[in-house]
Symmetry: C2
């Protein structure tokens, strides 16, 4: 069971989380819990570091920030003991959560789960501080934003758990954002592949890395709400499972959208091998996240046009980086802000032609112009004007028949 | 160098502490620093535990509370790095601070200082989170209130340091409380024995255990202020040293007082071996701190009277405990609140008669009635009415000629 920051935001919420753990224990389950820091705490600790140093050393940031999950782990263990449930807190280093040395964005390399498994078999609930681990040299690391999801899935895999339940502030994954489409419905089962596309496309419920890890270890995940009385054993949320475990595959599972996009187009780039690396090498070195990449051969065959998107806040920096590249000095760089990406995701589209055509027609019917298109096996994304984003999502949700019956 | 809670209360104070560390490094010293939590933080964390559970498990309290020192250790390391000083934070478990298993009041059993010593020899400053350690089973412990002083002295001893400087919110130990006697003067050198008596008698500057540990390891301690620019290498504070290191011994070193006392007298207690254990056994079992103990044989020789003091807040509980003892059922228990203890401390009094007489006369001259007297080799304490406490301190400070020249 994993509880995120809003689910442990104060002692009242921690007690509620303890009630859910207690309910699972009463069903006879052995339970390991992973907790985030109280919401706001991590930002507060990072702000303290920044007050001391504009560019603080990641090793020390990690030592400071990891204290947030330490506090909630202890408090949840106390709340369980208060309910007469044997429980103890585990910190990353105590639970043998070994990570790489990339401080503030470490990767879990191994979890030595034997000691915790022994305690679980004695019916003691384990409450692990998420988001943190320890290097082979014994320094504390953190996993980066949303890292507690990754801790939870990695621990579930190491313990050979039957299931990993991610409690959060929504009660599952929806066919699209219910604030935009009131008729959006909760998806009962979704495949890892679809969840990965949705997670990376802006459905901010599960961290991408945790889904990848669940996929790799074939760990049954479930996303469910910590704000009602339901518990995981009743499967009230959205289950993320293998494709084979979904009886009847929907053509399209959901519609995702991201609003924070800016578009960069390079016209007249030399069409030679290695040019993409010339463009994206410096961008990656500057730690700018690139999302869509679209490349077209231009008319004369000697040059090409290339379009990609970055978060709008990083647009200026991306352009600066490109202008400093000698090899791109002839390129004509044009940018466009105020764009949004809308995507249709579904494993079913692999075996059905016409999904893309249906998308383009639905958008055309609403007079929405498409600025770029990118596709994968189970996803079609289009870039459109930002103010068309919500009408587009509604039109597509309708076109694919995703509304509640 | 040890910095207490008020000395690291916010990032501005942490930067100031870093300046002091930097000044010592510039003198060519190898420096290990021990820090407390930001002032108020420990209480805030304990309050969270109490919100969850009225009687929280000490193992989990320790896991929660130890996070406070973790944060300051990381922040001070960052502040040092910001000053181009190589530094890193060490948590109790990283520095091999092994303790007993008495959670929330653990004792340090050993510090494996080799790894830290190696880093110090490479001119890296070590910033250790005080107040915390780890059991042989790898659970986090804390040392109880004021435990960071103990951590500092224990680390200094383990590192074979030349000196242990305790930075606090006063600039040294005074002959008495300067708020009561404006002419009180700072003591340049004081013996461990005297400091022990003063510490346990209410001069709240150094935790008793840390002085005991300094004494045992013959570690030169210094108490000095973190609120001015002076650094330890200039010896601006009060040095706590061996008796032999004090050239000219004062007759009386200081006057201490505690206001929080209540007096319990048991009349008509059977005068037989083991009776003191009958009285103080249950009191100790109830975890009530007893301070002065005075016993007199009463008139008829078959019974005795016994007087002791407890913190006023624990008086009612102490009386309850005694009333439940069968062996004390004939005892007449009388109590008195609103008393204070005033003590005269000085190694010199060992070799000088008349110190006690001088005290009693000074009090008599001010019409202050003595309710009980207890003495040790280097201390005389009297119990008096609380509202006479300040006049008594002034009279004694005067009588022993402790005023500034």
């Amino acid at each position: 069971m994993k509880f995120g920051g809003t689910s442990v935001q104060d002692t009242a919420h921690i007690k509620r989380a303890a009630d859910k753990v207690a309910a699972e224990v009463q069903r006879g389950n052995e339970v390991a819990v992973v907790v985030s820091a109280m919401s706001g705490e991590t930002n507060k600790l990072i702000a303290l570091c920044k007050e001391i140093s504009p560019n603080p050393n990641p090793q020390e940031i990690d030592a400071v920030v990891a204290s947030g999950e330490q506090v909630t782990a202890g408090l949840l263990a106390l709340a369980l003991q208060e309910r007469d449930i044997d429980a103890r807190s585990w910190l990353g280093w105590q639970a043998g959560v070994k990570t790489s040395e990339s401080h503030s964005k470490a990767r879990i390399e191994d979890i030595d789960a034997a000691p915790m498994r022994e305690r679980l078999s004695l019916k003691q609930v384990a409450v692990l501080a998420g988001f943190q681990g320890v290097t082979k040299n014994g320094r504390i690391t953190t996993l980066g934003r949303g890292g507690s999801d990754t801790t939870a899935v990695a621990l579930a895999a190491a313990l050979h758990a039957d299931r990993c339940d991610i409690y959060t502030d929504v009660d599952g994954i929806y066919t699209t954002d219910p604030r935009i489409v009131p008729g959006a419905q909760k998806i009962a089962k979704i495949s890892y592949e679809e969840m990965l596309e949705l997670a990376s496309l802006g459905a901010k419920v599960l961290q991408v890395r945790s889904v990848e890890m669940g996929y790799k270890h074939n760990m049954a995940l479930q996303v469910l709400s910590s704000f009602n009385d339901a518990i995981g054993s009743d499967f009230p949320g959205t289950q993320v499972v293998r494709e084979d475990d979904i009886m009847e595959q929907q053509l399209v599972t959901g519609i995702a959208h991201t609003e924070d996009e800016a578009k960069v187009t390079l016209f007249n780039v030399p069409d030679i091998p290695g040019v993409a690396a010339k463009v994206f090498g410096p961008i990656a070195a500057a730690n700018i996240n690139v999302d869509m990449i679209v490349q077209n051969v231009s008319g004369d065959g000697n040059a090409t046009d290339m379009t990609f998107t970055v978060p709008e806040s990083e647009l200026a920096r991306a352009v600066d980086v490109l202008k400093q590249e000698d090899d791109l000095k002839d390129a004509d760089i044009r940018t466009e802000k105020d764009v949004a990406k809308v995507s249709v995701v579904g494993i079913g589209m692999r075996s059905h032609a016409g999904v893309a055509q249906q998308m383009f027609k639905a958008l055309a019917d609403k007079d929405i112009n498409i600025k770029a298109i990118a596709t994968s096996e189970i996803k079609i994304s289009v870039l459109i004007a930002r103010d068309s984003s919500e009408p587009a999502v509604r039109a597509l949700h309708d076109a694919y028949g995703l509304h509640k019956q």
